[in-house]
């Protein structure tokens, strides 16, 4: 759901950039205060992995394809929605500047959708679902699915405000496509959490593991 420059008027893109910058500054503050030095390799590897996975479009039928976005993954693994804002912002800068994947004037909107909304939806729905189900795969899958669907609906509203899509048609198509793409988001997110927790459980935020299983102090 990388919005290209042609889809949003420059002035509206500017407004999204201003909102996005507030969250980017908060994310940099998170990196400074909350991110421990041992976690630096994990943060960087996650950025590389999310970049690579984002290039891997998988068909989801209906003549459409989709890929992992990674907001839920970054937020869940690192234990903060701002981790998603931090990593997704950097990934979007590389994609937009070097590869023209997502525009420059629309980068603010893309940061808001995939980093901010994806990160917050993914993180808090995972937290809530973990309390209810105590199951990482169930919570991770649903949280990641929501973190794909809800940013897509936000994107549809932005497209309506930009005069690019009509509201109803945009919401319907974006919703249906990303409900399907969200299945990829869910599966890849759970697989990645599983993989990272099995090789380096100490790096992963303790909220991922049930208290009984994660006796090791972070």
């Amino acid at each position: 759901m990388h919005i290209p420059d042609a889809f949003i008027p420059i002035w509206q893109g500017g407004i999204y950039w201003i909102i996005a910058l507030v969250f980017v500054i908060l994310a940099l503050r998170w990196a400074k205060n909350e991110m421990s030095e041992e976690k630096l390799p994990l943060v960087a590897v996650l950025a590389a992995g999310i970049f690579a996975l984002q290039s891997f479009n998988l068909p989801v039928s209906m003549g459409t394809s989709g890929h992992l976005v990674g907001g839920a993954l970054a937020a869940i693994i690192l234990g903060s929605p701002f981790a998603a804002v931090f990593i997704l912002t950097m990934v979007l800068i590389v994609q937009g500047v070097l590869f023209g994947d997502g525009g420059l004037t629309t980068m603010g909107a893309n940061i808001i959708n995939m980093g901010v909304i994806g990160g917050f939806v993914g993180f808090y729905s995972f937290k809530g679902l973990m309390k209810m189900t105590k199951s990482m795969p169930v919570s991770g899958f649903i949280a990641a699915w929501l973190a794909c669907l809800i940013p897509a609906l936000a994107c549809a509203i932005e497209m309506f405000l930009a005069g690019t899509f009509p509201l109803k048609e945009g919401l319907l198509a974006m919703g249906i496509y990303h409900a399907a793409i969200g299945v990829i988001e869910g599966i890849v997110t759970v697989a990645a959490i599983y993989l990272i927790t099995s090789v380096r459980p100490d790096l992963v935020d303790s909220g991922v593991k049930p208290a009984a299983g994660g006796a090791k102090a972070a």
Binding site: F7, A47, S55, F56, G170
Partner: protein, 117 residues
């Protein structure tokens, strides 16, 4: 448990492998946003396939445009999948480097203040 160095190198290798495989196997179908744009323009139905040659018409009035050095993760037709691999490898390493660099810079910038007290 594996140490930091193994995790870093292993992580980059996994990311690069995913990216390189994607060059060959990734679907060429439009993504959700592009598909929606095609529907709005009457070139595609909601659940139907995307017709070959379907193109998104862009109205550029009041919009910004920018030519990136490696559009669509490729170095142009002539370079084919080799160009695709180069683009993905550069992008993956850059995503890694930029995040590591900025994260370190932030951490280092934050330190002296605390140490001076």
């Amino acid at each position: 448990m594996i140490d930091n160095k193994t995790f870093l190198i292993g992580g980059i290798i996994v990311a690069l492998l995913i990216g390189v495989v994607a060059v060959f196997l990734a679907s060429g179908d439009p993504d959700g946003l592009e598909s929606t744009a095609l529907i709005v323009q009457g070139e595609k139905t909601l659940t139907g396939g995307t017709p070959e040659g379907a193109e998104i018409h862009e109205d550029l009035t009041g919009k910004f445009s920018y030519e990136s050095p490696m559009p669509d993760y490729s170095l142009g037709e002539a370079m084919g999948s080799t160009g695709g691999i180069v683009a993905i490898v550069v992008g993956t390493l850059l995503a890694f480097g930029v995040v590591l660099g900025i994260a370190y810079a932030i951490k280092l910038a934050g330190k002296p203040v605390k140490q001076n007290q």
